[in-house]
Symmetry: C2
Subunit: 171 residues, 2 copies
C-alpha cells in the first residue's frame, strides 16, 4: 500500500484528501498559460496545496493529476482543478470530451454562449468542439474533477479579451 508516482497504480493505495485542499503526496502542477489573476504568484511544481506557501495568497488555479498520465497504462486521466475567487480557466475548444463533476464550492461554466451556474455534485458533459470556460465569481474556492481521454488533441484557445487565464490542459 505504498505511495506510487502521480497517476500510477503500481500498487493499490488510498490517497487522503487534505483539509486544506489537495491530496496527501500529490503535487499541484504548473499550468500551460500565464497565471489567471494579475496578483497571483508564478506557479511552480511540487506545491502540496492551493496556496503558494504559509500565509501566501491563494493561487488562481491549481491542478492535480489524480490518476492516469504518461506513466500509466490507463486510457483516461482523472484531474482536479481548483479555482480561487475570481479565477477562470482558458476559453477554449478541442475535439476530445470532458466529463466534469463539481467537488467543492460554486462556480459557472460557459458552454457555447450560455452560462450555467454550478454547485457540488453537478455534472457537466462537454461535447467535441464546444467552446467552454470555467469561472469562479464566488468568494470561496471552486473545485471540480475532470476526466479526459489519455490520448487527446490539444485545445485551441479562444480568449477574446485581455483577461489572463489558465489552461485546463497541460502546456
Amino acid at each position: 500500500m505504498s505511495e506510487a508516482p502521480p497517476g500510477q497504480a503500481v500498487r493499490s493505495h488510498v490517497v487522503r484528501r487534505e483539509a486544506a485542499g489537495g491530496w496527501q503526496g500529490v503535487p499541484a502542477l504548473p499550468y500551460a498559460h500565464e497565471a489567471s489573476r494579475d496578483d497571483a504568484p508564478a506557479v511552480g511544481g511540487g506545491l502540496s496545496a492551493s496556496h503558494a506557501g504559509p500565509g501566501g495568497p491563494p493561487l488562481a488555479v491549481t491542478r492535480w493529476l489524480l490518476a492516469g498520465g504518461p506513466a500509466s497504462a490507463c486510457a483516461f486521466e482523472l484531474r482536479y482543478f481548483e479555482l480561487g475567487p475570481g479565477a477562470r480557466t482558458s476559453h477554449e475548444r478541442h475535439r476530445h470530451q470532458h466529463a466534469v463533476v463539481v467537488l467543492r464550492g460554486r462556480g459557472e461554466v460557459l458552454l457555447g454562449e450560455q452560462v450555467h451556474g454550478l454547485g457540488p455534485g453537478d455534472l457537466v458533459r462537454i461535447a467535441p468542439g464546444e467552446p467552454h470556460q470555467f469561472r469562479n465569481p464566488a468568494e470561496e474556492p471552486f473545485g471540480f474533477l475532470c476526466v479526459v481521454d489519455a490520448d487527446r488533441d490539444r485545445p485551441v484557445r479562444l480568449d477574446d479579451d485581455d483577461a489572463p487565464s489558465c489552461g485546463i490542459e497541460p502546456g
Copy 2:
C-alpha cells in the same frame, strides 16, 4: 443544451445533482449480481434515485453511468456507486484499474487483505489484479465516483462467504 442519452455528449449540457441523490434524468442501473442485502428489493432499470419508490426501502447499491458507455467515443467511463447502510460491492479482481473518489459519506475499501477507512474526497487507486471490495458499515449512504477504461476485462468474483453482494461492473 438538450438532454443526451446516458454517458453521451452529443451536445454539451449540465446535469444537476439531485438533493435526494442521483442526477436529473440519469437512470439508476441494474446490477450484475443479486441484491447486496437480503431485505433489498429486486433492482430494475429506470430508477431516478436510490430508492425503489416513494416510501420504499433504499436499494443496497445503486449505480449511475455519468459519462462514456457504449454510445460514446470516450475511452473511459465515469460511474457513480452509492451503497446503502450495510451494503458492499463484490469482492473481485480484474486487470483494469479503478480510480475512485469518495463523494458522499463514509465507508471502507478492502485492498488485498487491508481495510482502509474512507471519507469525502479520499482517492483510491486500484492496481491491476488487486482484490478489492467497497463496504458501508455506517448508517448513512456511502457514494463514490469510479473511472475505468471503456475497453476492459470482466471481473473475477472472489466472494468467500455467503453474503450476497453487488458487482461494481455491469453484468
